[in-house]
Each structure stands twice: as C-alpha cells, then as structure tokens.
C-alpha cells in the first residue's frame, strides 16, 4: 500500500518541463500555422477519398461521378464550346442585372439619404417591397417575360437592389457630420462635397452591400436558369438532370462556385484599392 501511495502521489510539476512542453506545442502549432499548404490539406484529402470511393464502386456514378470524370466532361464541353457559350450567357445576365439593379439602388440610396423629402416619399414603400422574397416573383415573371432574358435580368436586378440600397443609405447617413460641415466652411459646392466627402465616406458600406449583392446575384441566377431558361450554366445542369449526367451537374455546380469566388475576389481587390486609407484594410 505504501509503495502504491508514493506512486500515486501527485508530484508538483517541474516548471521547466512544463515550459518545454508548451514550447514544443507552440512550435508544432506554428509550423501548421505557417505553412502555405495547410489550407489545402483537407480539400486534398476529400478529393482523394472521393476518387477512391468512386474507383472502388462504393460511390456509384449515378449518385456522384468521380472527380476525374468531372474533369473529363469539363474538358469535353470546353472543346465543343458548350461550356463557354453557356458561361458567357450566364455572366452577361449576372452583369447586366447587377448593373441595372445596382445603379438604381445606388441612386435611390443616395437620394433618400441626402433628401428628407425623398426619404419620406420613397423609403417606406421600398422597405415594404423589401419584405417580398424576390424568388417568389418567378411564376409572375415567367408569365410576363416567358423565358426571355428580361426575366433573368429583372430577377437579378431585384435581388441585388436591396443590399446595395440599404448599405448606400446607411453609408451616407453614417458620414461624420463634422466633415460635411468642414466642406461647407471651405467653400465646397454640392458636387465637390459629394465627390470628395460623401461618396468616399459611404464607399466602405457600399462595398459591403456589393458583396452581399454578389452572393444574391449568383443564387438568383441559378434558380432562374434552372426554372426558366434555354441557355446558361443552370440550364446546362437542368438538361443534364434529364439524362442523369451527374458529371455535368457537378461541373455546373463547380463553375458556379468558381464564378462566385471570382466575384468575391474582385470585390476584395476593390476594397483594398479604394479603402487603402483605412488602417483596417492594411494601408499600403
């Protein structure tokens, strides 16, 4: 019993040993934290697992095709031009919808923020309209436009309108009033005041709105193209469904993901360029 008791006795930890262990953990941790390959570990493992599962037949191609099959069909569609045609159709719809909805949203956001009269006139109605989920309009829009381009542009434009409108409005109203006052005292006219104080002051908020809008833009386009279109990436995926071409469907999903990532990267670069004065975006 006595020996057992001594063995079990809790010894005070040697502080040097504790420090050494902590150091070891920290070095281990920092190697993981430092390596540029760390973020790629999980995706690579997943891809390998997926490929193995497909090859062994554990994952039937009717459920999910092998990654190599997706790459193969991607190459094929790229060569016969289908992918690029549909891609450019989808991208055009996205950009036209974004420009149309976004510019109206910016104009109205600035107008309601700068003019109390217009705010009273427009904002309550816009806020009420905002409660309508824009995808709920699809049946109506199809009745109006059929599967015309107008349908997609209207839906995308509607979808991107509200995040941009709300953030433009918020951006302008949150500008430091002292700066506006300074501009007046220093003789800035309306246009100069807008260009030098109000627009740059509202820009951080507008860019936040733009990032939200881009997410909604792709989402809207996917739904609209799946339901009512005869071209575009969403249409391509929906056609593939009829023939159980899971490889094409997965390819379409990946293309959408890549487009979303591309748009997000462009906004991030824009933020870094336009907000470089802001220490939060790492000046210079």
């Amino acid at each position: 019993m006595a020996t057992l008791a001594t063995d079990l006795k809790i010894r005070p930890a040697d502080p040097r040993a504790v420090a050494a262990r902590a150091e070891a953990v920290r070095i281990e941790g920092s190697r993981l934290a430092r390596s540029r390959w760390t973020p790629f570990v999980l995706p690579t493992l997943l891809l390998v697992a997926w490929q193995v599962a497909s090859l062994t037949g554990a994952l039937p191609a009717t459920i999910l095709p092998a990654p190599t099959a997706v790459i193969g069909v991607g190459w094929e569609l790229l060569r016969d031009g289908t992918l690029l045609t549909n891609l450019s159709v989808s991208a055009t719809r996205a950009i036209v919808g974004l420009l149309a909805g976004g510019s109206i949203a910016l104009a109205l956001g600035f107008a309601t923020a700068l003019s109390p009269g217009l705010r009273r006139l427009l904002d309550p109605t816009l806020q009420a309209v905002r409660t309508i989920p824009h995808l709920a309009l699809i049946p109506l829009v199809i009745l109006w436009f059929g599967i015309d381009e107008g349908a997609k542009v209207l839906l995308v434009g509607w979808g991107v309108f509200f995040p941009i409108y709300l953030n433009a409005y918020h951006g302008v109203t949150s500008i430091d009033r002292g700066l506006v006052e300074m501009g007046r005292v220093y003789g800035m006219g309306r246009w100069t005041l807008f260009r030098r104080v109000i627009l740059p002051g509202a820009l951080p908020s507008i860019l936040v709105g733009l990032r939200f809008a881009l997410g909604i833009m792709w989402l809207t386009l996917i739904v609209a193209e799946t339901i009512a279109a005869n071209s575009g990436i969403g249409y391509m995926a929906n056609q593939a469904r009829e023939f159980s071409q899971t490889d094409v469907i997965v390819l379409a999903i990946l293309v959408y993901a890549a487009l979303g990532k591309l748009a997000d990267t462009i906004t991030r670069l824009a933020e870094r360029r336009f907000l470089r004065w802001n220490p939060a975006y790492g000046a210079r």
């Binding site: 002292g178 700066l179 300074m182 220093y186 800035m188 740059p200 002051g201 907000l275 004065w277 000046a283």
Partner: protein, 251 residues
Amino acid sequence: MAHPPSGNVHTLSLSQAQGGAGVAIHDLGVAFGSNRVLHDLDLAIASGQFVSIVGRSGCGKSTLLRAITGLENPVRGTIETDRGRTRVVFQEPRLLPWSDVRANVEVGAEGSVAERREQADHALALVGLSDKAAEWPARLSGGQKQRVALARALVSRPRLLLLDEPLGALDALTRIEMQRLIERVWLRQGFTALLVTHDVAEAVALGDRVVVMEGGRITRDVAVVAERPRRHGDAALATVEGEILARLLEG
C-alpha cells in the same frame, strides 16, 4: 514687394491676403429652440487683431464662432465680416481620411491643379510637414493632424481665421509648439484671428485682447500688452492670466 525670385516665392503667394478682415458684431442673439445661447452680444475686432475668447464650457463661445462662420443662424443682430475669406480650424482636425495629407490641404486651395498642389506644398512646409505630404491622415499623431488642419486653413489665404479650441486635445508640449506656430503664421500673414479656448494661459499667450464670456454674454474685455513673439512665462502675461482666472472663478 521686392522679393527675390526664388526661395521666398511661397511666402509671397501665401501672404497675398488683402490684410485681415475686421469683424463687427452688433446686438447678436442665438437660440437653440427656446434656449437662448447668446444675448445682446456686441464685439468689434480690428483688422489684423488677434482676439482670444475664454469662458467655461457652455458659455456660448463656440456658438459665437459658429455664428460668425454662418453655421448657426442668429435670431437677431448682425455680423459683418468677409465670410468668403473666413476659415476655421476646428477642435477635431476634420481631415478627410480617404485623402492623403497633400490632398487634404488642397481642399483649402484655389486655382489650377498645379497651382493648388504648389500652394499645398508651401503651406505644408510652413507647418513643418513637407515630408508627410503623401501620408494618410490615420498615420499622423494628433499634433500633426492639427498642423495639417492649420495648413488647410492657411492655404486659402484667410482674412479671418477662427480657431475653435484647436489645441484642446493635444499634450502640453505640443500645445506650446502649436501656439508658437499659430503666432508665427499670424504675424507673417496678417489675417485677423479669433481663438476660442477654455485655457486662460493660452488665451493670454496669443491674444492682443482676451474677451471673457459668461452665460452667453461678454463680461470682460482685457487688452494684453506684451511684445511679440510672446515668450512663455512672461511676467506681464502671468499678471493678466491671474486677473482673468480670478474673475472666472468668482463668477
């Protein structure tokens, strides 16, 4: 003006202001709603004079300044001055964070792009910040920001410069440096200056006159007679400072 063609050109361009503008305020009243902030206020400032206004918080001294710039609308009375050539240095620097230092100074400048840039560079040299021209305001210290704000005011060749507690947020040493800088550019450019402050020592150190405000009225108007540039710790200044402090504390 027989200035040499080089070297001193900027002093020339910055001192072209047509002398200081006089200020004549008669029977001024300002109210926020039913709350009367200024009462029956009369104040005359001669062209080129440096006047300090001191008083406790809420005595109406900042409101007076804002009324002179036209940022507050008086309910009665008149203010005569050259408002088009009146510039303000605010308590906060109020720099545009998204414009670099030079562009911030150019806000006050006039003329073509090249002229504005040249004026801005000269004004920055005057306040000793030439090397910060391309910097973002966020990178500057409080004192440097206030010097940029001063350069922005100077570049517009003001005839009347209003200083609304511009040094309130600065540390003691920086304050003294800024006071000297303000006095130096005032002596050089000859504009009329009106400084609002709650620091009696500062008011006395800079003003030809110190106007004491209490409860929205002017209660004292003291001439400060001492040589320029003022020396910190001058005995004459200390006497005036003591008098005014005594008055403010008993009130």
